[in-house]
C-alpha cells in the first residue's frame, strides 16, 4: 500500500524582532531558540527522539553567524539519524520545500518520523541594506537589477495590471490587509495584532505604487519546527493529525518575467500545481475549508486565490472586500494573519503556514478556529509565482 504522510506536531516562536545587533551586549543565539522548538514540537507530536530519522532545515540567512547550522544543531541535540540531514533553499519557496522534502523522506521509507524546521533572522539588518541582497534574487542581476527592480516591485506591477484589467479598486485590495490584521489579532504567533481600518491602509505612505506600507510584508524574524510521520505512526499516537493528501509543483520555465508575453497575473504555475494537488486528493477547490497562502503582498493573495480556484478570476479583491475570505466567510484565507500581519521571515514563512494548518486541522486554533475545518491548503512560491508548490491536507480526528 502507498505510504502516506501526516503532520503530527508543530512549534514556533512569535514572528517579530528577535535578531540582536552585532554590538548588543546580550545576543540572541539561533540554536538556543531552535533546540527548544524541536523539543516542544516532538512533545506536541507524541513521538520520541529515537523515532526521528530525517531532518530538513531551511537555509539560515547569511547574517546567522553559526555556519552549517543544521549539523551544528544535530550536535546540540545528539540526534543520530539514518535518513537524511540537509538544508534546502529555494528563495520564497524554501520552507515549503523543507516540508516537501521531509514528506519525501517518509514516502521513500527512509524515516518514520521527519522534521521540517528552520530559523530566519534578519531584522537587525536595515531594509535598505537587506535589499542590496534581495534585489539580486528576482530578475536578471545584470539586465533588471541595474534598473533598480526590487522583489516587491514585481508584485506592485501585478497590482497595477490587476486594477487596470479588472476594474478592481484600491479599497478592495486594501481590504485584504484589514482582513488579515483581524485574523492576526487572534493569533499569538502574529507580528502585528492591533486591528486596522481600511482608511488607515489606504492612507499609508507608498512603498511600491500602488501598494502602501500595509499592503507589503513587514520585516521580522521567526523559527518553527514541524513533525511529520508515516500514517501508521500518526495513528499510533492516538492524537488528531493532518494527512497530506495532495501535492502539486510547477515551474513555468521563466524567471520573474517571460520575454514571450503572457498573462502575467494568471499565476499559471499556481493554477497547474493546485490542479494536480486537488486531483491527488480527489477533491475540487470548492471543498477547501481554509487556505494558508504564500502571499507577500495583498495583491498576491488575491491572484493566488483566483489561480487556485477559490474565487473566480477578477473577483479576488472584491471577495476580500465583501468578507468572503474572512474568518466566518465562505472560504477563509490566511487565518494566521498572512504575510502582511502574521509576518514574513521569508525562509521560514511557509513553516508558519503549515503551523496554522496543523492548528486548524487539529481543531486547536482557538478564537480563529474555522468551524469543522476538514480540508486545508498551503502554497509556496518563488519569483512572481513563476514556480508554485501546493499541498492539500485533510484533518483526521
Amino acid at each position: 500500500m502507498t505510504r502516506r504522510v501526516a503532520l503530527i506536531g508543530a512549534s514556533a516562536i512569535p514572528v517579530g524582532r528577535h535578531q540582536t545587533p552585532d554590538d548588543a551586549a546580550l545576543q540572541t543565539l539561533e540554536h538556543e531558540i531552535m533546540t527548544r522548538l524541536v523539543t516542544e514540537a516532538v512533545q506536541d507530536a507524541g513521538v520520541n527522539k529515537e523515532d526521528i530519522q530525517s531532518l530538513v532545515f531551511t537555509l539560515p540567512r547569511p547574517y546567522t553567524r553559526q555556519k552549517y547550522f543544521h549539523t551544528f544543531l544535530m550536535g546540540q541535540l545528539r540526534l543520530a539519524c539514518r535518513g537524511s540531514v540537509m538544508e534546502v533553499m529555494g528563495n520564497g519557496m524554501t520552507a515549503a520545500l523543507a516540508f516537501d522534502k521531509a514528506c519525501d523522506e517518509i514516502l521513500l521509507g527512509r524515516a518514520e518520523v521527519a522534521l521540517a524546521l528552520g530559523i530566519n533572522m534578519e531584522s537587525a539588518v536595515s531594509a535598505a541594506e537587506h535589499m542590496m541582497s534581495s534585489m539580486r534574487t528576482t530578475g536578471d542581476v545584470d539586465f533588471h537589477t541595474s534598473a533598480g527592480f526590487t522583489p516587491i516591485a514585481w508584485y506592485a506591477m501585478d497590482a497595477t495590471r490587476y486594477l487596470h484589467e479588472h476594474g478592481a479598486t484600491r479599497e478592495q485590495l486594501g481590504a485584504v490587509a484589514v482582513k488579515n490584521r483581524h485574523h492576526a489579532s487572534l493569533n499569538p504567533l502574529a507580528q502585528y495584532r492591533k486591528p486596522i481600518t481600511l482608511d488607515e491602509v489606504v492612507a499609508q505612505r507608498p512603498i511600491v505604487e500602488p501598494l502602501g506600507l500595509y499592503d507589503v510584508p513587514p520585516r521580522g524574524d521567526g523559527a518553527a519546527c514541524l513533525v511529520l510521520a508515516s500514517e501508521d505512526v500518526a495513528k499510533a499516537t492516538g492524537r488528531p493529525y493532518a494527512l497530506v493528501r495532495g501535492r502539486g509543483f510547477c515551474h513555468d520555465g521563466s524567471h520573474q518575467i517571460s520575454d514571450v508575453p503572457n498573462d502575467m497575473i494568471a499565476f499559471e504555475a499556481a493554477a497547474r500545481a493546485s490542479r494536480d494537488a486537488y486531483a491527488q486528493a480527489g477533491i475540487g477547490a470548492q471543498e477547501i475549508d481554509l487556505a494558508e497562502l504564500y502571499a507577500p503582498c495583498t495583491i498576491v493573495e488575491v491572484l493566488v486565490s483566483e489561480a487556485i480556484g477559490l474565487v473566480p478570476r477578477g473577483q479576488g479583491a472584491r471577495a476580500a472586500f465583501e468578507g468572503e475570505t474572512r474568518l466566518g466567510g465562505r472560504i477563509p484565507v490566511s487565518t494566521s494573519g498572512g504575510l502582511t500581519s502574521r509576518g514574513h521571515p521569508a525562509y521560514v514563512t511557509s513553516l508558519y503556514n503549515y503551523v496554522e494548518l496543523a492548528e486548524q486541522l487539529r481543531g486547536r486554533a482557538g478564537e480563529r478556529q474555522v468551524k469543522d475545518a476538514h480540508w486545508g491548503l498551503g502554497t509556496g512560491e518563488l519569483g512572481n509565482y513563476n514556480a508554485a508548490l501546493v499541498h492539500v491536507l485533510e484533518a483526521v480526528r
Binding site: 535589499m131 534585489m135 545584470d142 534598473a147 533598480g148 506592485a156 506591477m157 487596470h164 520575454d259 514571450v260
Partner: protein
C-alpha cells in the same frame, strides 16, 4: 547594415548605481547600446528572438545565435514607482520601472523615464531610449 535600430541617447549626470557586468558575449550588447544601437539575439535554427540576449536559445537550445535589431516601440504592460529602494538606489528614489511589450513581440522590464507630469497607464505607447551615464549606458522607456 541599414536595418539597425538607433535609439535616442539621453545624457545622465553621474554613474550607474548598480552597473551590469560584461561578459565577452554581453559586452557586444552594452557596447552597441552605448552607441545607441538596440539589438538582441535571434536564433538561426528556430527563428525566435530573446531578451535579454543569450548565447544559447532558450526555445530550441541551439547555439546558432545571431545579433538582430530590436524594434524601438511598444506598449506599457504594467509599471510601479519604487519609493523604498535598496541602499545604492536610495538617492534616485522614488523612481518608476515598468514592463514593456515591444511591437515585435518581446516583453522586457526596464526603468521608465519619469517626470512629475507623466501619467503612466497600462497599454500606453512607449519608445525605448538609452540613458547615457558617465560610466556607460542603460536602456529605458518613455511615453511617445
Amino acid at each position: 547594415m541599414s536595418d539597425n535600430t538607433r535609439l535616442p541617447c539621453l545624457p545622465v549626470a553621474g554613474t550607474r548605481a548598480y552597473p551590469p557586468r560584461h561578459s565577452a558575449f554581453t559586452a557586444v550588447f552594452w557596447n552597441a547600446l552605448a552607441q545607441g544601437l538596440w539589438q538582441t539575439t535571434r536564433c538561426g535554427a528556430c527563428g525566435h528572438a530573446t531578451f535579454p540576449p543569450k548565447p544559447v536559445c532558450p526555445h530550441c537550445w541551439s547555439t546558432d545565435m545571431r545579433w538582430a535589431p530590436l524594434g524601438a516601440r511598444g506598449r506599457l504592460y504594467s509599471w510601479t514607482r519604487i519609493h523604498a529602494a535598496p541602499a545604492v538606489f536610495a538617492a534616485e528614489a522614488p523612481y518608476a520601472v515598468g514592463i514593456v511589450d515591444l511591437d515585435d513581440g518581446l516583453r522586457l522590464a526596464c526603468r521608465l523615464l519619469d517626470t512629475e507630469h507623466t501619467t503612466w497607464t497600462p497599454g500606453m505607447p512607449v519608445e525605448m531610449v538609452v540613458l547615457t551615464y558617465e560610466d556607460g549606458p542603460l536602456f529605458a522607456a518613455r511615453p511617445i
